[in-house]
Subunit: 429 residues, 2 copies
């Protein structure tokens, strides 16, 4: 892990928009599913997952049997995590409001949940039960009544869909689960098929085909932001424990070879100690073959002249995860402009947020924290403006509205007001 | 304007993703501006707008002289509209919050404005001063400190940039205005040039080149949703005045040949009367050549068996604008699930909302009100999650976090917690 001056570091990871072949393949899948429905879904499942799926929907029986295959320790932990996540997201809820005016008018904003949401959950090794909770709970708190989950069918040698995924879904009350993955699952959710009714929004992570399919159906349905490679920045001073810092950097690095783990510090001593700890801890990691390249290619220890300079570096990087392992983290918080989730102090290790504390682990990646937010309840609501104008209000303001319409050359707009004012004149005349 | 049963009507307007040539042209412009900065901007302005622009930034002098070219009636109206719009959007503001836990932990959500926003304002005939207000004010209310406006340079024969646009901008305090339009303006805002510093988000309407450029830079910066053709649905019963209904339908139709104006009514009599009124009023409209094709191709009068059925039709269409010209509009509001802006009663004509009342006129088009919202203050903020975990909290919960990490095969995540628990054991042992 290189130690270098912060000014020399630039994180350059291009977003993957897929190859031309991948884009074409996804387009073809979407068109087929749109036209042929279930028949196309079955065909692609057989082609890509190598299995014939007799029934798309996962039965109650299969969910029950999943419970028999997970241990109690997991079940208890996921239940408590769900309580924490729900409790945090409840605080994000908002109410419709209205504003009554003295002229008898009423203006307002109505907040409603989306009606139906689709949740994509990857299968295989990237099957993360925590991801089910993090995507489903904000939707439920928003008031979404229907959540349809899709996840790839078990491939040969597997004993059905990952039971941890099924139990996590069942624990948050999701019972509508379909055995379908890839671009065909996204297309089915967007356009609907005989078995899978269409949704209003699709959320959840997936491979490049899933990402391209989501991009493509955006507009027909809403989608969440498409996650890029993940990152952590740790801002630490001499008060930090090098072993803690190194462990947290590695916990990010094990996700993905393109993940980025960066330490920013004004302490030369800490820089050297963390460097040594990363080498030591990396060596004994099971996912060393992933974390190693990540640390080598996208990891860095950046030295800065002062904490203030470190904060400027953090704001420039706009990291997905930021840890403040410094003497006075709370006092520094107001200066952090760009970060998805901010972890303060020595005990707030990133996994506390990934699994447990309550805030969402779906966060803006690749510098988009400059303008994007963690997944939250607002992502599952829609607003409508409400305008009730009284007769008095229109009589008072009508002429001025006409003035503005006429200055934009929109005469029919002006006339829509004028026809009402004229009618009043007639009635009074 | 056809009268037809609602069940037979389907609004089918494809979103314009541009031709291959248009996409290629936009890509080339973006790449050039990204690499060459101002030089490319000037080159494209000369090529597409046919003018040499000596200075990109519009001077204070030019803004002052714009004031001399607008009438007082307009100035007074735009000032009052700005007050109304600001007042409505102030109610959308939200605060950061934190949640203190008995175990000494603190969880929270920080809300911050975006730092810098770019506002695209079309030139020529589609220059709408109201659009400046509607896009800029929510950003200002959110707390955005820097708004950079771009608008195409005046072409030969024009006396500088449209003065109404400049005055509208100056009235809301925008002084950073650049004379540049098209894809080159979008690219300059996204990547920055010597003269135009980069922004975090680009908002505002534009032609197909502007729309494609915005789509393309999304990810580098945030963008607002890309507006499709506009629409109104009027749900009316026998209590409605046919002349009012027809005028409101036509005010939508004059926007664009692809705009859609639809009446939904359980009253056969109203249907016939509105049909006659539309023909009568259309005939004397200055923008008849636009409103005519819109009414012919995308307009309809839909008859329904009951008000309840009419509401179902409305929710299916998910219109950008919805007018309820029925006996008891407020009592019907709770049943409206999908609509961008809802206008209640005989005096709430759509132009009241387009210009005046306060709610935003940038609304979800083309059925996206199912999952999208009017432009609002939330579009100009970002959230960060805050997690401060106390020693006590980590000791209490650490084992359960490790359980979840291990069940996902993420050993480095587990170790980041374990290294802290072990340290405590050592210290106590």
């Amino acid at each position: 892990m290189r130690i270098m001056p912060a000014a020399e570091f630039k994180l350059d990871r291009e977003v993957d928009y897929g190859t031309a072949d991948q884009n074409e393949a996804v387009q073809a899948i979407i068109e087929s599913v749109r036209k042929e429905g279930d028949a196309a879904v079955h065909r692609y499942s057989e082609k890509f997952d190598g299995v014939k799926v007799p029934e798309l929907r996962i039965s109650e029986e299969e969910i029950r049997s999943a419970y028999e295959r997970v241990d109690l320790e997991f079940l208890e932990a996921i239940r408590e995590a769900a309580v924490n996540i729900r409790s945090f997201h409840e605080k994000q809820k908002r109410s419709s409001w209205m504003d009554l005016q003295p002229d008898g008018s009423l203006l307002g904003q109505v907040i409603r949940p989306l009606k139906r949401v689709g949740l994509y959950v990857p299968g295989g090794k990237a099957a993360y039960p925590s991801s089910v909770l993090m995507n489903a709970i904000p939707a439920q708190v928003a008031g979404v009544q229907e959540i349809a989950m899709v996840t790839p069918p078990a491939t040969a040698g597997e004993e059905g869909v990952n039971p941890y995924i099924l139990v996590a879904a069942a624990e948050v009350g999701i019972r509508e689960i379909y055995r379908v993955g890839g671009a065909q699952a996204v297309a089915a959710l967007a356009f609907g098929t005989e078995s899978i009714p269409a949704v209003d929004k699709i959320v959840g992570p997936g491979n490049i085909y899933v990402a391209l399919a989501k991009r493509s159906v955006y507009g027909v349905v809403d989608i969440d932001s498409i996650a890029g490679p993940s990152e952590i920045v740790v801002l630490a001073d001499d008060s930090a424990d090098p072993a803690f810092v190194a462990a947290d950097l590695l916990s990010q690095a094990e996700h993905d070879e393109m993940a980025s783990a960066v330490l920013v510090t004004p302490s030369e001593e800490l820089a050297r100690k963390v460097q040594a700890e990363v080498i030591r801890q990396l060596d004994i990691l099971p996912r060393k073959s992933i974390a190693g390249p990540s640390i080598r290619d996208y990891g860095a220890i950046l030295t800065v002249g002062s904490l203030k300079e470190g904060i400027a570096v953090v704001n420039r990087l706009a990291p997905e995860h930021l840890e403040l392992m410094i003497e006075s983290p709370m006092e520094t918080l107001p200066y952090i402009e760009n970060a998805g989730a901010i972890f303060l102090g020595p005990y707030s290790s990133e996994p506390v947020g990934d699994y447990w504390a309550g805030p969402n682990h779906v966060l803006p990646t690749n510098g988009t924290a400059r303008f994007s937010s963690p997944l939250n309840v607002d992502d599952f609501i829609k607003k409508s403006s409400v305008i009730y104008y009284s007769r008095e209000a229109l009589l008072k303001n009508g002429r001025k509205i006409i003035t503005l319409a006429e200055h934009e050359g929109l005469e029919a707009h002006a006339r829509a007001i004028r026809v009402r004012l004229d009618k009043e004149d007639e009635t009074n005349g």
